[in-house]
């Protein structure tokens, strides 16, 4: 339905790239290459890249699974069925769910505002959105302790209302939202800026309401980028260690997320159990990778 509203978009995606693809295919069929480097250099470059990736990314991933299954499948399952491990998995899922929803809403709103409107302080807002990328997570965690801790700025109010933030689930959620802040917004802003406001203007001039313009024009236009941002946001939310470690209080079965639980198990000499939980996070990474590849493919199709 959205296609009908932006014919120009469809035209662009049909014309040019397929032409290039065809030329590329012809060149390949003719056995010609655009590269001028000798074969040896090319092979060497590829090998170096592969060796580097294998050593620094592939091997650690393999080690995690090997260690996790060292004591057999039964030990692996029982490590994951442990009540504290289950609690950490539940907490991680909960925190990720809240953070992703919060940042999804925020990311859309911020990107919408930045891409479609002009207002004073716009560049400041963009800089602020990027801030979590440049601030160390530990500093972020400590900042929350300084704000919401018992010696912190809001200590009096929090005590009066008997609200617990630090060393409880809300603190962990806050810290996670902070470190995952930029992911959705950063994916959407360039895309929405590029798309401009022409389609929305067209929709409105055809009589669509604001809400229906958003859901039938804006949202469909950015849906793959949005999903991509959510994916990255989720991966980071589940894997975050530093900021969460500072605000967690490390109470077993209550405020330990999966990354924290992994460290605890490792420090308790329960190496197999520790890597069993770690393997879940590694699996998440693999799933993210596959989903990311699919989304990138979709994004490329939409973009061109």
């Amino acid at each position: 339905m959205s296609d009908a509203l932006h014919p120009g978009h469809v035209l662009a995606s049909e014309g040019l790239p397929t032409g290039i693809a065809r030329a590329d295919a012809e060149r390949r069929a003719a056995g010609k290459s655009v590269h001028t480097e000798p074969a040896a250099v090319r092979i060497a470059l590829v090998l170096v890249a592969l060796a580097f990736l294998g050593l620094f990314i592939g091997l650690p991933l393999v080690v995690v699974f090997v260690e996790a299954l060292k004591r057999g499948a039964a030990a692996y399952v029982s490590a994951l069925a442990n009540p504290d491990a289950l609690a950490s998995i539940r907490l991680t899922l909960l925190v990720a769910a809240i953070s992703v929803v919060a940042n999804l809403v925020f990311g859309l709103v911020a990107a919408w505002a930045i891409a479609k409107f002009e207002f004073p302080g716009k560049s400041t807002l963009i800089t602020l959105i990027d801030l979590p990328f440049s601030v160390s997570p530990v500093v972020a965690g400590l900042a929350f302790v300084l704000l919401f801790g018992a010696q912190g700025l809001f200590a009096g109010y929090l005590a009066a209302w008997d609200v617990k933030i630090i060393f409880a689930v809300p603190g962990i959620v806050l810290a996670t939202i902070f470190v995952t802040f930029p992911f959705v917004a950063r994916e959407l802003i360039p895309l929405m800026q590029e798309q401009g406001t022409a389609e929305e203007e067209a929709a409105v001039s055809l009589g669509a309401s604001g809400l229906s313009t958003f859901f039938r024009v804006t949202l469909p236009n950015v849906k793959w980028a949005l999903l991509y941002g959510v994916l990255l946001c989720n991966a980071r939310a589940m894997g975050e260690f530093g900021a969460v470690s500072v605000v967690s209080g490390h109470v077993r079965g209550l405020t330990n997320t999966m990354p924290l639980h992994i460290e605890i198990l490792y420090n308790e000499y329960q190496f197999a159990a520790s890597f069993a939980v770690a393997s879940l996070l590694a699996l998440l990474a693999l799933v993210t990778l596959v989903a990311k590849t699919i989304l990138e493919h979709r994004l490329a199709e939409e973009d061109t």
């Binding site: 919060a102 609200v163 060393f167 689930v169 809300p170 209080g249 109470v251 077993r252 209550l254």
Partner: protein, 337 residues
């Protein structure tokens, strides 16, 4: 079931970020014991035994004791920042003093329970590789050239402070109370310790898992645990001729138990540590029991060693902390050059 539903109820509160309580209070009692690194296994056992004991005298009630572990100083900081510990069981009195200074615990806390509020003790021993290839028998062997020592950083680790003070006390006694010679000795010792982890458990992992160093200065209980967990065929425990009596103290956090109404049960929990049953659990986890009968039963486990206390040699924790571990203190002078 109670703590399972807590995070989910927080989901709805959390989405709107109204920041409702993350830990809902149920009719059943939940205590939080904030402790230091090596006591994880000890308090798993204590909590189980005490819950059973409590259920006997209070049928129908259920009790769950949650645990939080980390470096002693860091844990104290968390309690100060609002981690709602009903009881703290830390590595040294100084860390509890720090909490008391903020008004969360009565200043005279150490007099509230017997034996300086330390229901069990420990000491500092050496863990060496099997067969003791560097022939390390006593503190003097640690300063020999070519011996690599693994110990955590006294600035951040309670255990490391005990290590440091044990070495200092030994050198002081050997040199007839000459402070300058004791300083030289400890300086030579730290020259042989090139890497300082932040916590006791980190150092143990460095020594045991990564195979770094010839000797680990460790809590006695930590040394036994590593030997048991990772194979008696890999390590030997060496007990020096003289060491320090480490008294890890426990106390109730007054502000928290008053707010939660858990004073009675928290005090019962700590007193349980002094009962024969509690002492037996401590001994089984390689903490030296105070109870003489329990100690007699385990006399083969704990090597005989002359022990001095921090009060005897250093005039208490406040003084030792200020002289040795404060900014610009003796440790800073030793380690700077």
């Amino acid at each position: 079931m109670t703590h399972r539903s807590a995070p989910f109820s927080a989901l709805f509160a959390g989405v709107a970020l109204t920041l409702a309580a993350g830990t809902a209070l149920a009719a059943d009692t939940t205590l939080l014991n904030v402790s230091y690194d090596p006591t994880r296994e000890l308090y798993v056992d204590v909590n189980k035994a005490f819950a059973a004991e409590w259920a006997k005298s209070h049928p129908g009630d259920t009790l769950k004791v949650n645990q939080s572990h980390g470096g002693s100083g860091k844990q104290a900081r968390s309690v100060i920042d609002g981690l709602e510990a009903d009881v703290v069981t830390l590595a040294l009195a100084y860390d509890i003093d720090a909490i008391a200074e903020k008004g969360l615990i009565a200043k005279d806390w150490q007099k509230r329970l017997p034996e300086n509020s330390a229901p069990y003790t420990s000491t500092i021993v050496f863990l060496v590789r099997k067969g003791n290839p560097k022939n390390i028998k006593d503190w003097d062997d640690l300063v020999k050239p070519g011996v690599k020592i693994v110990t955590p950083n006294p600035k951040t680790s309670g255990g490391a402070r005990w290590n440091y003070l044990a070495a200092w006390g030994y050198a002081l006694k050997k040199n007839g109370g000459d402070e300058a010679k004791a300083k030289d000795f400890v300086k030579a010792l730290f020259k042989n310790a090139p890497v300082l982890d932040t916590g006791a458990r980190g150092s143990t992992i460095t020594f045991v898992e990564r195979g770094i160093g010839d000797v680990l200065l460790a809590w006695e209980n930590e040394a036994y645990l590593s030997v048991n967990e990772l194979g008696p065929d890999k390590f030997d425990i060496i007990t020096p001729s003289l060491s320090i009596l480490a008294e890890p103290p426990v106390t109730v956090v007054d502000k928290v138990v008053e707010k939660k109404g858990t004073r009675a049960i928290s005090e019962a929990y700590l007193k349980f540590l002094y009962t024969p049953a509690g002492q037996e659990i401590a001994a089984k986890n390689y903490y030296r029991p105070r109870d003489e009968q329990v100690a007699a039963r385990h006399k083969d486990t704990f090597a005989k060693v002359d022990l001095f206390t921090i009060d005897q040699v250093f005039g208490g924790w406040q003084k030792a902390q200020k002289t040795h571990f404060g900014d610009g203190g003796v440790f800073d002078q030793i380690y700077a050059n």
